[in-house]
Amino acid sequence: MRFERMLTPLVLLTVTGLLVGTTLERSRSLDGTINFLAFFATTAAIYAVFSLALNVQWGYTGIFNFGVAAFFLVGAYTAAIFVKPPADPESSVRYVGGFGEVFSPPFLGGDQWVPFLVAMLAAAIASGLLAFLLAIPTLRLREDYLAITTIGIAELLRRIVIQEDYLVNGSRSLIGIPKPFSGYFEADTNRFVYLAVVVVVLIVVFLLVERVIRSPWGRVLRALKEDEIATAASGKNVFAFKMQGFILGAMFMGVGGAVFAFSRGSIGPTTFDHFFATFLIWAMLIVGGSGNNWGAIAGAYVVWGIFTITLNLQLYDLPSLIESRISFIRDFLLGLLIVAILLLRPQGLIPEERRVSIWLDRRMRKSTPGDPAATNTSEP
């Protein structure tokens, strides 16, 4: 019991200690360390937006989205073409849109922030629309069909980006995506300004999710996750609620993609790899604890922390046998970590705010006497 309560602070402290320690050792200066940690915090906060978004879908609605990469990609590219100026016909960089100047009001420094707000909104809408389209054939079916379909759409979108190279510059990166307020500050300072922007976005998303989940609508969602049949029996349109939960999560993912695109300044189809853009986000939510927004954020911090620490390790004099493949070893261990957590601590670092474990609940429902849905207890 004691250990249980100590676990989360212990993990957070260890990760923070190693992170700061290895970064100090690596950059050998305070300035460099702070710069690096600011970059780390920016990326971690962006991932936290995704982790929260996935929490809306999986943690609260029970929707099984294995293609986060698809929504990530749509959000990022949509945002990019909304903030960039129109493509230069002379240049080899080709893309559609380029609405950056359209949404730049000529007052109050409007070009420094208005296009970015518009872009985030557009990213959210595009991503939500994708969710809507995908939901039509799959949301009424068994939950893992959506997982397969979303894996598929992520792959398909990546192919479309590569094949239709007039859309967003094909397999080459789409470069030169501006950051908000970059006209006011030096690049060095702007790093921190942008961190502040991302943190504000994260806080807004967090508050929105918290508010929505505690609303009557959110209560229906959670009831739905626990028992779809009972919720349907109480007269709720299950399909509509699931659809709304899926779309809402996807819209937050679109926003996450947008802030990611601003942060990196350049994105390409390889950016939206299944590992970085889907699996890592699931890992964050599971490590942190699904069904809990604080858990989602803690998970993003811890997993991205581990990631960054292994990057830092490359600067030490490791045996080349390990050093040359440290990223593979890290991915290998991360996969095992997920399996281990599912086996040993399925509630994650910060458990869901309920007394009874949902697994226990599920089993009870499964074998309730006379329940026609009773299946799949293949072993005694």
Partner: protein, 236 residues
């Protein structure tokens, strides 16, 4: 007196919820016994606990002289007890023949003779041996489910709501078939919503309420019992 099946003081439930609080049921050799009671009384749970599908937290299940408490279903089947679940009690994509074969999975020998014997009891199935069970009507499925459970010639047969979802006419046919099985020497313990029909075919009955034994006695007596009649037989 020897009992084919003797369950004493069974306690069982799901997770933290305890559904059966010390229930006892006996079935004599060749007897047919009905368990009736309101919804949620724990009737199906009782069958599951008897058959080892749900761990018995206390109590004992004896099959003849053998203690089978918390044995796995394959060992219980080998010991001579079969169970027909209420729903989804056939393998839809397997042929009728294959369904029956699965009923005798634990035995290596004598499959043709067993099939022959069961087809004789259920002549309707004979002509459709090769058909997928999924194509059968509700009543035929119930017949096949019974036939599958009889493949090993059990001493005790557990039936969970054999009349569920069937038309009144079919209910009667099924009960007559069950009686026939019983007459051939198999003891039957059945759980029923359709209390009147069940009692009229059985020799004895138990009334289960809220996971406890409420009443027991011979079937005719229970039908005439005023409380039973008022509560479970739909009489005012």
């Amino acid at each position: 007196m020897t009992f084919a099946l003797e369950a004493t003081g069974l306690v069982a439930g799901y997770g933290e919820a305890e559904i059966l609080h010390s229930v006892s049921v006996t079935v004599a050799d060749g007897e047919m016994v009905a368990i009736i009671g309101p919804n949620g009384a724990g009737k199906s749970t009782l069958l599951k606990a008897v058959f080892g599908l749900l761990p018995a937290r206390a109590g004992e299940v004896r099959l003849g002289s053998e203690d089978v408490t918390n044995h796995t279903p394959d060992r219980i089947v080998a010991a001579g007890m079969s169970y027909v679940p209420q729903v989804e009690n056939v393998f839809p994509s397997l042929s009728i023949n294959e369904n029956l074969e699965m009923g005798a999975f634990i035995r290596r020998d004598g499959l043709p003779e067993r099939l022959e014997r069961v087809y004789e009891m259920f002549p309707d199935l004979t002509s459709r041996r090769r058909d997928a069970a999924g194509k059968l009507s509700g009543g035929q499925r119930q017949m096949l489910a019974l036939a599958r459970a009889l493949m090993l010639d059990p001493t005790v047969l557990l039936l969970d709501e054999p009349s569920a979802g069937l038309s009144p006419k079919m209910v009667h046919i099924i009960f007559k078939k069950i009686l026939e099985i019983n007459k051939a020497g198999t003891a039957v313990l059945l759980v029923e919503q359709n209390a009147r029909e069940a009692l009229s075919f059985s020799q004895r009955g138990y009334v289960l309420v809220a996971g406890e034994n409420r009443l027991e006695g011979d079937a005719a007596g229970l039908i005439d019992n005023e409380e039973v009649g008022r509560l479970y037989l739909g009489e005012s």
